[in-house]
């Protein structure tokens, strides 16, 4: 086992929420958007992070790159804890970690040309580069992600959603990062375009040896892209396992429910398959249920679930559920 490129240990992000009705001296309510997430990711591997909207996926991603104050540790491959760095020290790592955003058009400044947008990381991290070299680099990256290099002077609004996401990918790749964080990169795209963009990411990963954190809100998207999958619910890790194992043997009731909703291409299995309904609404993240946070919607909940479940381990398969090690069938 090689040394991990990035390792998160017990990462937590808490927001102070002030309601307008609060008086200035009332202590703010606390929202635990990310609550004790740990993972370790080896070079060249892909981690898929899955969860419903509002479960803290983006918040986790933003915490990893220091866009939000977080507690815990994020260890980079050289042994540095990214969370303790000053903004100036962090700059060095920013060129090694790049991010792709959910809304392709909104993540591009409408008043800048595509060339200037893609060149921005170069300007920031390679200030010594001449503008001619920069332009060459931008053109080659554009070609790499399937954009015509002669579109360099165009503006984002002249491109389609899929092309905008390619621009976003080009911007992330231009500084040759080691880690690419993709925050729901295809959620805003048409299904056919989704496949193209995912195909491109796969190809880039293979050719460039990228390590990827891939965030999505449904399991089917991460399935064939990820080596490891983590399922989040209300900011907590519900289950984490290598991809094949998680899909073959989901142990957490939440994962089982999510998986049962994923359509299976085989019509025979699809017909006999039972969809486990998730009843009730997502509880407010401000007031999560005591004990197991999934308790209010879990089809198998028991009295013991009112205490916080510890991580049940089977090999590298983590499951936060009391029933996990009893081998209860889905």
């Amino acid at each position: 086992m090689s040394r991990p490129l990035i390792e998160a240990r017990d990462v937590r992000v808490t927001f102070d929420i002030r309601r307008p009705s609060d008086l200035p001296w009332t202590p703010p309510a606390q929202l635990h958007a990310v609550n004790g997430v740990s993972f370790s990711l080896e070079p060249g591997q892909t981690l898929g992070i899955v969860g419903e909207s509002g479960c803290g996926k983006s918040t986790l991603a933003r915490a990893l790159i220091r866009m939000l104050p977080a507690s815990g540790q994020v260890i980079w491959e050289d042994g540095t804890d990214l969370l303790t760095l000053s903004p100036r020290q962090m700059l060095k790592y920013r060129s090694q970690i790049q991010m792709i955003f959910q809304d392709p058009l909104a993540s591009l400044n409408p008043r800048m040309t595509v060339g200037d947008i893609i060149a921005e990381p170069l300007r920031t991290h390679r200030p010594g580069m001449s503008s001619k070299e920069r332009k060459e680099k931008v053109r080659s990256v554009m070609e790499r992600v399937g954009l015509l290099p002669n579109q360099i002077n165009r503006y984002p609004h002249e491109f389609s959603g899929g092309q905008c996401q390619r621009i976003g990918i080009a911007r992330a790749l231009v500084v040759e990062p080691k880690l690419l964080i993709c925050d729901e990169p295809v959620s805003a795209l048409d299904v056919s375009i989704q496949a193209q963009v995912i195909g491109l990411l796969e190809e880039l990963r293979r050719d460039l040896g990228l390590t990827i954190i891939f965030i999505a809100h449904d399991l089917s998207v991460v399935k064939h892209l990820s080596d490891e999958v983590m399922v989040l619910y209300l900011g907590r890790m519900m289950e984490k396992a290598c991809s094949d194992e998680l899909f073959a043997d989901p142990r957490h009731p939440y994962t089982q429910a999510l998986l049962s909703a994923v359509p299976i291409p085989d019509p025979k299995i699809e017909k006999t398959k039972q969809v486990i309904p998730l009843e009730g609404d997502l509880p407010s993240p401000m007031a999560p249920p005591k004990g197991c946070v999934f308790r209010t919607r879990c089809p198998k909940t028991q009295a013991v679930c009112e205490t916080v479940p510890e991580d049940r381990l089977r090999g590298d398969h983590h499951t936060a559920c009391h029933l996990a090690d009893q081998g209860v069938e889905a």
Binding site: S107, R111, E120, G146, N150, Y155, E158, G168, G199
Partner: protein, 308 residues
């Protein structure tokens, strides 16, 4: 689908190797603006009024201070508009050339409007962008200060100032400038707040672009639209404010004049049958206001990102 880069390459070569020119949002806005009839009409009005203010004095046969003794005392009978004696717009009640006076009044009114608006742009943009970008306590403090200043009946304060420190054009600029930036700072702050939440700003922060560069490269260019529109619409407001004060007799001092002062004089003497003394200043006043409102509306429609 996996991208076939070989195919893309040949496609790239097949289509022209030349870089395609982009169509910026500014270019789009410009085209929309120039195809807007009302805005073009407003622009023509403004060009006309500006040319009149800048070069009217070269056409005038009289200066604005000379009194034409041949019409003095018989203004109602002899002071009417006439090409023959060089008083194209007639004379005022004292026998001064109204054409020259209207030129000067237009100059002063335009200057008050544009300077008031310029102060608003500079002070309001810096103030609002600072409050909006840094947010938190600073924002709270700065915007509460604006709320308090806005709550003061400024017309009352302005009149007090003019009465206390005497009527001078500097005082007028100071007074108008003091109030004009408040609304602007609110608008800029609101816009900065929305911009700050945009994903491309977040993307720039994630890349590690320093804050001053983010403000310069990402925030200011996206503020220009709102600021331009508001500044254009602020000019006629400032002119109206000045005219109102002048109408009360507290504006610029003789021998200087403004459109508001001229209208005030003209309306005072209308019962003597000297209609032109009201009509000409009023015409230029109305043309100026319409011009700015039409152009401002046209800019707003052109720059509005919603109907891209």
């Amino acid at each position: 689908m996996v991208i076939d880069s070989q195919k893309m390459k040949s496609l790239a070569e097949a289509t022209s190797r030349e870089d395609v020119a982009g169509r910026s949002l500014w270019a789009d806005a410009r085209r929309r603006f120039f195809s807007n009839k009302a805005a073009m009409f407003g622009l023509v009005l403004l060009v006309f009024v500006t040319l009149f203010a800048l070069f009217g004095n070269y056409i005038a046969q009289w200066s604005n201070e000379e009194i034409d003794f041949s019409v003095m005392g018989m203004v109602a009978e002899q002071g009417g508009p006439s090409i023959a004696n060089g008083h194209y717009f007639g004379t005022d009640d004292l026998g001064r050339d109204l054409f020259a006076r209207t030129v000067q009044g237009t100059q002063i009114s335009l200057a008050v409007g544009i300077i008031g608006s310029a102060i608003a742009v500079v002070v309001g943009t810096i103030y609002g962008a600072t409050a909006g970008y840094f947010g938190g306590r600073l924002d709270n403090f700065m915007m509460r200060a604006v709320d308090i200043l806005l709550a003061i009946p400024y017309m009352f304060v302005l009149i007090l100032l003019l009465v206390m420190y005497g009527r001078s054009i500097t005082m007028l600029f100071v007074g108008v400038g003091l109030i004009s930036w408040l609304e602007m700072s609110r608008i800029v702050r609101g816009q900065t707040l929305t911009l700050k939440g945009r994903e491309y700003i977040e993307a720039a922060r994630a890349i590690g672009v320093p804050a001053p560069v983010i403000i310069r490269r990402h925030i200011l260019p996206n503020l220009i639209g709102v600021v331009t529109v508001f500044a254009t619409l602020l000019v006629p407001n400032m002119i109206l404010t000045e005219s109102f004060i002048s109408f009360l007799g507290l504006g610029v001092q003789e021998p200087m004049t403004s459109l508001g002062a001229l209208i005030s004089e003209g309306s005072g003497t209308i019962s003597y049958g000297t209609l032109w003394q009201l009509a000409f200043p009023l015409l230029f006043f109305v043309l100026t206001l319409f011009g700015f409102f039409f152009v401002g509306d046209g800019l707003r429609d052109a720059l509005d990102p919603k109907d891209r």
